[in-house]
């Protein structure tokens, strides 16, 4: 298998309905799938385990950023891992995009590849969602000094040497800006890659509400 050295990291919180299918779709294509169950109160952990994933459990709900950090730290202890892929549990990301990003990282010797839904026209986001995301991009770019076209996109490829520079302290949503900042500080080369984010009814119902943008701004401003 060409991607034996890839670990896909999936933070999960109460996604029992979909997480099994999502992981089943990944498990045969990469070396490991590491799922961090962030204190779910449903059967997410069982569903993930049945689908063949490594499952770590947070005893209490800490937030996606904390789950991601735990997943990264565990993945770095797995032997022979070269690339870590952060992947959402709700089915909005595509395996094909993730693998294309890994290929890009390999071919161009990149430390990080960020997924962006604004590099092509595939992703259908409503006007308000677009506005919120663009604002988040702007804020992230201001605080990180990087020029990304998308922020808060959960699909990223991080080479292990870059992952060692990630120490997320923002447990909640603001970690998406924090991880960009910390990856930027590693000084490793990075690129963006177009991805297709699928807004299913399920992910829409669960996804970030527009009000959450206010929370993110606050978390970033008052660290």
């Amino acid at each position: 298998m060409p991607n034996e050295d890839v670990a896909i990291l999936v933070p999960v919180y109460n996604e029992a309905r979909v997480v099994g299918d999502v992981i089943a779709g990944l498990i045969d294509h990469v070396g490991h799938v590491v799922c961090v169950d962030d204190g779910s109160t449903d059967s997410s952990a069982d569903a993930a385990r049945r689908a063949g994933s490594i499952v770590l459990r947070h005893a209490t709900n800490l937030g996606q950023g904390a789950a991601l950090q735990t997943a990264i730290e565990h993945a770095l202890t797995l032997p022979d891992m070269r690339y870590l892929v952060t992947f959402d549990a709700d089915g909005q990301h595509q395996l094909a995009d993730a693998l294309a990003m890994v290929d890009l990282a390999r071919n161009e010797d990149l430390g990080v590849v960020f997924g962006s839904r604004f590099l092509d026209e595939r992703t259908q986001a409503g006007f308000l969602k677009r506005l919120v995301l663009k604002t988040a991009v702007w804020v992230t770019n201001q605080s990180t000094g990087m020029r990304l076209t998308d922020a808060h996109n959960g699909l990223r490829v991080i080479r292990t040497d870059a992952a060692r520079g990630v120490h997320l302290t923002q447990n909640r949503m603001a970690h998406a800006s924090e991880i960009v900042l910390q990856l930027g500080r590693t000084g490793l080369p990075w690129r963006e890659h177009p991805v297709h984010v699928l807004y299913t009814d399920y992910s829409k119902a669960k996804g970030q509400s527009l009000l959450n943008a206010i929370n993110i701004l606050f978390e970033l401003t008052f660290r």
């Binding site: 800490l62 302290t169 447990n171």
Partner: protein, 119 residues
Amino acid sequence: MDIQDQQLVIKIVLLVGVTVATALLTRSSSGARHQAIRRVLLVLFAAATAAVIVAPQLVSGLARLMGVGRGTDLLLYGLAVAFVCFLATYYGRMRMLNRQITNLTRALALAEGRRTGES
């Protein structure tokens, strides 16, 4: 019964309250240095409070000295400042606690991962 005697009951109630609160606060334990400083401040605070209960006109005198109209106003301002200080220290303590919980939860999860990885 003159005014001084009428106030006697409330004075006793307040004094007992301050004594109990002081006793409870001195028992809390954290860093030795911190604790010593807090205890000294606490004793000073208790003494000042007791003095004010026994002789309320002291606050009014102090208020006039500081350019505040009435003793009650000075007390209110002091209370507002003290409350904000309390919020600030507790916010800091809360963040520290959150960080500790995060580290603890993560350590547990990672230990579980190591165990299942070995088996």
